[in-house]
Amino acid sequence: MSNKNIKVKDYIIKSAADFFTPIGLVLGLYIILHGHLSPGGGFQGGVIVASAVVLIYLGYGFEVSTKTFKPNVLKKSEAIGALMYTFFALLGIFYAANFCRNVFFNVGNPGDLFSSGTIFLMNAAVGYKVLTGVGFLILLMFGLLANKEE
């Protein structure tokens, strides 16, 4: 199971993965949700969340990481994220304006979490898409790495 070049399931790496996985998940989700208030956004936060896949692979091996993040679900979720972005962009056409128009931007004050209309929703859609996509990509490459060993 364990590759010659990459050491997995080691005791020190396992405790480090236990410590850093929740921090990475919470920080990534914070960056995705606060994309319109603080530096960052969907792309950056999604990549930070996808680093949890790497940590779980290093701590527990390939089989546990495929059990935790199922590749089929991730593959479909990425397409769902892309469709969500397109739907939020199409909302402008439903409200009789042009494509990608921010139609209900004046809900809430500037500075609130639920403000700025479709920017918040598009940010969440892009974050969901990037975290599932990059997570699936990492899982695919680790599967190749684990397959070569046998």
Binding site: G35, H36, L37, S38, P39, G41, F43, T66, K70, P71, N72, K75, E78, A79, G81, A82, Y85, T86, A89, F99, C100, N102, F105, N106, G108, N109, P110, G111, S115, S116, G117, T118, I119, M122, N123, V126, K129, V130, G133, F136, L137, L139, L140, M141, G143, L144, A146, N147
Partner: protein, 113 residues
Amino acid sequence: MKKFLTYFSLTVFLIIGCYTALEMAKLAPTFDGQKINVVELYNNPKNYDYNDADGVANLMVKQTIDKTHAINAVTAIVFDFRGYDTLGESFVLFTAISGTVVILRNAMKGRAD
């Protein structure tokens, strides 16, 4: 039939593109640079008066919070003013991952999913 549909759709795209280009050429320019004194801007950029600048860049810098209610100006530009660009960016990522799946599918057969 398939070839006919391909050429028909390409012709429709070409006609719509030419029509849009001709219509857009008639519109007023968004940034013509008439109000900018280039020599003065080059000589002392710190003391230049930016208040009468025209164009989209001026609007993006000064009216971001009024137009989008988003405090982070970069996110406001990326997801609102440049929404098409972000759509293309995310689909580039989607295409890259699809290509990776197609290439690596034979290599990890019977493994993972």
